[in-house]
Every structure is written in C-alpha cells, then in structure tokens.
C-alpha cells in the first residue's frame, strides 16, 4: 500500500517536473522579451499568441501546405532509406559503397540545393518535397543499418542451422530486431522533413511557412518571425512526440541508443583503402552526369561534372574562381568551427552535470529532448534578428544546432554505463567524480563521437543558412548571390566544394574516434 502510494507520487513527480520546467522556461522567455525589448528583438509568448490569433487563417494555411510537402518527402525519403539499408544488408559486398554514397548525398548543402532544385522543378511543391526527402533519408538510413545488424550472432546461426539464407534472416530476424532503431530514426526524421520543406520554400515557393518566414524577416516583423518559428517548432515537436508514442506502442523496451557506425571496414590492403574513395567518387560523378542527361536538363542551369571541373581548374579565370570560393569558404569555416566545438562542448558539459545531479536532469532532460526536435536552423532568422549580423549570431546558431543532439546523445551514453560496473565503483565507495571519470565517461565516448560525426554536416548547414538568410557573408552569402544572379557555375562549384568539406570533416572526426576508442577499449568500436 505504502509502496503503491510512493510509486504514485513518483509518477506524479515524473510528470510534474517537465511541466514545471516548461512553465519556468516560458516565464523566463517572457521576462527576457520584456527586459530586453529595447536592446534585442525578442518576442515573448504573449506577443506571439497575439500575432497567431490575429493571423490564424494565414498561418494555418501555410502550415498546412508545408506539412503536406513535408509528409510526402518524409514518406519518399524513408522509403529510399529503407530500400538502401535492406540492399546493403542483402548485398554485403556493396554495403560500404551504399553507405559512402548515402553519406555524400547527406553532406550536400541543403541551402544551395534549394535554388538548383527550383530551376529544375519549376514552381510548385517539387523542391520542397525533394528537400524534405533529402533531409530525412540519412537519419533513417543510419540507425536502420545499425538495427538490421543489431541481433546477436546466435539468432542468425539459428536461421542458418535450418539451411536458410540471407532472405530468411532478413524476414525472421533483422526486420523485427531493427524496428526500434527504425522508429528512433523516423522520430528524428519527422522534424527534419519539416525543416527540409521549409528550406524548399525559402527559394521561390508561392506559399508555405518558409515563404511567410522570409517575408516577416525581410520586413523586420519581430513578432511575426518569432510566431512563425514557434509554430514550426510546435509542429515539429508534435510530429516527434507522435512518432515516439507510436514507437512505444509497437515496441516494448527502452529505445535503443544509436551509435552511428563509422564508415565500416576491416583492415584492408592499402591499395583497396585508396581505391575505395576513388571508386565512390567516380560512381557519384557518373550518377550526377547520367541523371542530368537522362532528364535532358538544360546545361544552362543543370551543370555537369565537366562544367565544374572547367570552372575551377581549366578555365582561364579558374584561379580567380578558386580564390573567390576559397575566401568565402574560409570566412564560413572560421565561424562554423568555433560554433561546432562550442556546441559539442556545451552538450557534453551539461550532460555530465546532469548525470551528477539527477534531480536537475529529471526536469531538464524532457525539455532538452523536446527541443532537440526543433529544427534549429529555422530559428536562424530569430537569432540573427536578436543578435545582429556579426559573427556572434552565426556562431550561436551553429552551436545551438549541435548542442541539443549532443546533449541527448552524451546523456544517454553516460546512462548506458553497465549497472555492474557502477555497482563495482559503489562497492568501493568511489566518489561520483571518480566514477564519472573512470567508468561513465569512457562508456559514453561512442555516443559522443557518433554525435560529433553527425554534427559536421549539421554545422555547415547551420552556418550557410545563417549566411544565406541573414548575414550575406561567407559561402552561404556567395551562394545566395550567385543563385539570384543565375551564376550557376559558381553555385554548383560551391555545392561540390561544401559537400567535399563536409565529407572530409566527417572522415577526420571518424579517424579521431578510431584513435581514441582504440585507447579506451576496442570493444567499443562500432562497426
């Protein structure tokens, strides 16, 4: 009886803490808005509600259209992700190739892809849907690849012991074993689809949340900008929560911790290690060229690999092109890198604090998980409106973009420390700090690095978005300029260079990860 009462109180508290912290956050937001009303351009909850009340019809219609495009993109992107992951598992010799191609496409800078898609698709929903699909497929592909291989070896031995092959293993073992992973991926994909659809609307759509956001920002309508971003965030959080519910209804057990695999590969002969990237590059170029030719797209806006090569390497003014592009890229990286490191460090730091102070965590974590669902980039206009066009605004956007996923990943990683190991430390009455340093921190490293890898393209996306929409500097600004003046050679070259930089950054982080994990326990190396 007392136990039941206690449990009831406990459950009440678990519900109460998040609600309380959400209320506190709203209150602080309103306060900030009022206090800094003159210095920074912040709209508080009250002002936002008033705006939404006055413009209910307009915002609802826009939200409807964007959600529609996002939903179609979500379905298409995830269908491709599932097909790719299944193909990679059924044809293991192609797995590396498929993963590498998927990564490169993930590293395409969404901002610049938008205008290119716009000229290819023309008016309508085409670019929104394509960008939504592009934004989601990787966040589903990666966990699914992990999930499809997550079953213990004896389950596969069981299938093989009756003389059955890969297909039976897929149907009887992998499909079900990967479901929790699939849902974890879909859950993150839902807000990403909304983000992708909004991006598609930034570049010449007629209607939708993206269009309203650009308009509000350009006319310095502070209440409007904040209200639209809040609406987008609310829709994203709803989709995230809804999928979470569905996932919990279908799978019992806690959601899995996704450790995105490092580009997998055993030790290979050196020539093969070299050959592989070259092969992937060649295949990508072939796909690029073939798809342009097959769709019979005008060479004026649909540049081929040879055009980019000529523009950057063989044309008479190639050196000048390279100089322009290089300078812009440098300007962007100088802001993206500090933001990246800051976001990772803050996420890691707060995760450690929260694990050491579990009471605090009970209030903060649900809010942090909810905030992770907000596609931070759509708040880029707000932050620029609030902090101005200097470096601080861009760095903040990048850091914020990375902070929430890193916090959640590190926190879950810290919580993953095996119970027996913790018991061992407790039995020696080790201090919480010592336990953190010797047991929990090493156990968290794979989760941290997985987040750090995924954050590389995210950082570039955030920086270029801020530049494109607001500051007009760096490579994002350059792309915005060339898109509006139809400088498609420069635009395509910028896309290629940015994707290459993102892939390179991802690979560098993966190398650091390998080196660190080799020291901290090879058994933690995710394949």
């Amino acid at each position: 009886m007392t136990i039941a009462l206690h449990q009831l109180r406990r459950r009440g508290a678990d519900r109460f803490y998040p609600v309380l912290s959400a209320l506190v956050a709203l209150l602080m937001w309103e306060l900030l808005a009022r206090v800094f009303a003159q210095t920074y351009l912040i709209a508080g909850p009250v002002e936002i509600s008033r705006y939404l009340w006055d413009h209910a019809g307009l915002v609802a219609r826009a939200a409807g259209i964007t959600t529609f495009a996002a939903a179609i993109g979500f379905v298409l992107g995830n269908a491709v992700a599932i097909a790719l992951a299944v193909a990679a598992v059924l044809l293991p010799s192609l797995a590396r190739l498929i993963s590498a191609l998927a990564l490169v496409v993930f590293c395409l800078p969404l901002v610049a892809t938008g205008p290119i898609l716009r000229v290819i698709w023309g008016p309508g929903l085409g670019p929104q849907i394509t960008l939504a699909a592009l934004a989601v497929y990787y966040t589903t592909f990666l966990p699914l690849m992990v999930g499809l291989r997550a079953a213990p070896p004896s389950w596969f031995d069981l299938v093989r012991s009756y003389g059955r092959g890969r297909f039976s293993a897929l149907v009887e073992v992998r499909a079900m074993a990967s479901l929790p992973y699939l849902f974890a991926g879909l859950q993150i994909a839902a807000p990403a689809a909304f983000l992708g659809a909004m991006f598609g609307e930034f570049t010449g759509a007629e209607r939708g949340m993206g269009v309203l956001t650009i308009r509000a920002m350009r006319s310095l309508d502070v209440a409007g900008t904040w209200a639209l971003a809040s609406t987008a965030a609310a829709i994203s959080m709803l989709a995230y929560a809804g999928l979470g519910r569905l996932s919990r209804a279908l799978n019992n057990g806690p959601p899995p911790l996704i450790l995105a695999p490092v580009l997998e590969g055993e030790r290979r002969a050196r020539w093969r290690a070299l050959l592989h990237p070259i092969l992937v590059t060649l295949i990508l170029l072939a796909i690029w060229w073939l798809s342009m030719e097959a769709a019979n797209l005008s060479p004026f806006f649909a540049k081929r690999p040879a055009d980019v090569w000529a523009f950057l390497i063989t044309a008479p003014e190639a050196a000048a092109h390279r100089a322009t592009l290089g300078a812009a890229l440098l300007e962007t990286l100088v802001l993206a890198l500090p933001g990246y490191l800051l976001g990772l460090a803050l996420g890691l730091g707060l995760a450690i604090v929260l694990v050491l102070a579990p009471k605090l965590a009970r209030g903060v974590m649900p809010v942090a998980i909810a905030l992770r669902a907000i596609p931070i980039v759509i708040t880029a206009p707000l932050i620029v409106v609030a902090l101005g066009r200097g470096p601080a605004g861009t760095i903040t956007i990048v850091a914020l973009m990375i902070f929430f996923p890193s916090l959640v990943a590190c926190y879950q990683g810290l919580a993953r420390t095996p119970r027996q190991v913790l018991d061992l430390f407790d039995s020696y009455a080790a201090s919480p700090l010592r336990r953190m340093a010797s047991a929990q921190f090493p156990a968290m490293l794979p989760a941290f690095f997985a987040a750090a890898r995924m954050a590389v393209p995210a950082a570039i996306l955030a920086a270029t978005t801020a530049e494109w929409l607001a500051t007009g500097r760096g490579i994002g600004g350059l792309m915005a300029l060339t898109a509006s003046t139809s400088g498609y050679k420069m635009l395509w070259s910028a896309v290629v260079v940015l994707a290459a930089v993102a892939v390179a950054g991802y690979v560098v982080v993966a190398q650091i990860e390998r080196a660190v994990l080799r020291i901290y326990g090879a058994e933690q190396l995710t394949r």
């Binding site: 389950w155 031995d157 069981l158 299938v159 012991s161 003389g163």
Partner: protein, 260 residues
C-alpha cells in the same frame, strides 16, 4: 543411407584458428573424431577450450581452418538444407518478439515443414512449460528459456542433435528431472546426439560415451565409453565412471605457462 536412420558423424583433421598472424587464437587443434550413428556423446572440457567451436564446425555454421566434417556421407550444409540437423545454442537464441509457441513453431517454418500446432503444444508440455505458451522469452527464467530451446530443436524431428550446454542455466533439481525425462524424447527416435556440458554426472548419466577436451587449443585427452544400462540410476558403477571422467578433466588441465 536411409533418410530416416541416424547418420554417423566423421571429423577428419578438423581444426580452427581465429584471427590472423600476430594475434592468432587456436581454438581447436587438428582432431580426428568419429561419432557412431544413433549414439549420444557428451563433450566436457574447461571453459573456453573450444567446445562451442567444435559444435559450430560440425553444424557447418563455421568454416574449419583445416579438415572436413561428413555426416552420413553428406556435408553439414546438405544436412541443414534438408532440416535434418538441430542446434540448441548456449544462449538459447529465442527471438524476443515471439512467444514460446511462436519460437518453437518458427523452427518448423524455417525447416519448411507444415505447421503442427498439436506437436508444438505437446513438446511444450513435455519440457514443463505448459501454461507459458503465450509468454515471451523476457518473461521466462534462464532455465525455462533453455527448455523452450530444446523443444524447438525437437519440433523439426532432426536426425542429428547438437546441444550446447542445454541445461547450463537449470537448477540441480530440474536438471535431474530433465536428465531423466528428456533423453527419452530423442533416444527413442534414432538421433545422433552431441551434448556439450559442464556437469560430469550429467555427461555420464545421459551419454554412451564421454570425450574430455584439454584447455584451449582443444585436444581429446580422454575418450571414455559409458556402458551403463538404461534407464540409468546413480550407483557404484556410475560413481566410478564419474570419478574417471573427473580425473581425466583434472589431468587435462596441468597449470601450463600461458603464452605471452
């Protein structure tokens, strides 16, 4: 060879090493082993000596470094493809999203046999899991899971049974009862059985022959015939054999210097 007769198992020059030069682990030294048709052979040896490795090689789930396995003239793969072989895995390997009934029925599906719900339920009762048909593995104890795994092995009516510590997580009392009841399930049907176990008394009570393996890399250090009448009961004769096997086990593991 008749399709329904139990086949003999022949291992020629069979060995297995893991890893590559530099970090090589020899799990099994080349062995010659012959298991007679219809016999039950127990395999005992210290932990980590290579017993599971041997079983996996015989099932064809792993590729030998040298040598070959023939089961009644067929390869392990051929045996598996006609579902004439069943393995009970050390960790039970029940699929967590299937019920006990579903897990056992899955074996018939994988073996391309028609569904047979009546036999499934009969076997569940035989292994003492009546009432748990619709539970999932997470609701079962370790020993109950292993019993479900044994029922799954038997549902496809195999000619070769490979059991990897099938009673490892079962308490002494239940183990004694299972030792008493279960062998009747397959010994009547003409099955060649290999049973890996840590319990010397279990090995003696269940088998026609006990093979004692050395610490890794496994070699055969003793091969003891068990000529006891069935049904078996503890007694002086059994105790003598148990002592025999125990001594072989102890001698197989001299404190060897570990290679660096």
């Amino acid at each position: 060879m008749q399709a329904n007769a139990p086949p003999p198992i022949q291992c020629r020059d069979l060995s297995r090493s893991f890893g590559h030069a530099g970090a090589r682990v020899d799990a099994l030294e080349p062995v010659e082993l012959h298991f007679a048709a219809g016999e039950t052979t127990a395999i005992v040896g210290p932990s980590g000596c290579g017993k599971s490795t041997l079983l996996r090689l015989i099932a064809g789930l792993d590729t030998p470094s040298t040598g070959s396995v023939r089961i009644g003239g067929e390869t392990p793969l051929q045996m598996r493809q006609r579902a004439a072989l069943s393995v009970a895995f050390q960790d039970a390997a029940l699929l967590p999203w299937r019920t006990v009934r579903g897990n056992i029925a899955l074996a018939r599906k994988l073996a391309r046999l028609p569904p047979d719900p009546a036999s499934v339920d009969r076997l569940i009762a035989l292994v003492g899991l009546a009432g748990f048909e619709d539970r999932r593995p997470a609701d079962l104890s370790g020993g109950m899971r292993q019993r479900a795994a044994i029922a799954r092995c038997l549902i496809s009516d195999p000619r070769v049974l490979l059991l990897d510590e099938p009673f490892g997580a079962v308490d002494e009392l239940t183990r004694a009862r299972l030792n008493h009841e279960l062998p009747a399930l397959w010994q009547g049907r003409g099955v060649t059985t290999l049973l890996v176990t840590h319990s010397v008394s279990e090995a003696v009570m269940l088998s026609d022959r006990v093979i004692v393996l050395s610490p890794r890399p496994a070699r055969v250090v003793a091969d003891i015939a068990i000529d006891l009448a069935r049904p078996r009961a503890t007694g002086a004769e059994a105790d003598a054999l148990i002592a025999n096997v125990t001594e072989a086990l102890a001698q197989s593991a001299p404190p060897r210097p570990q290679p660096a």
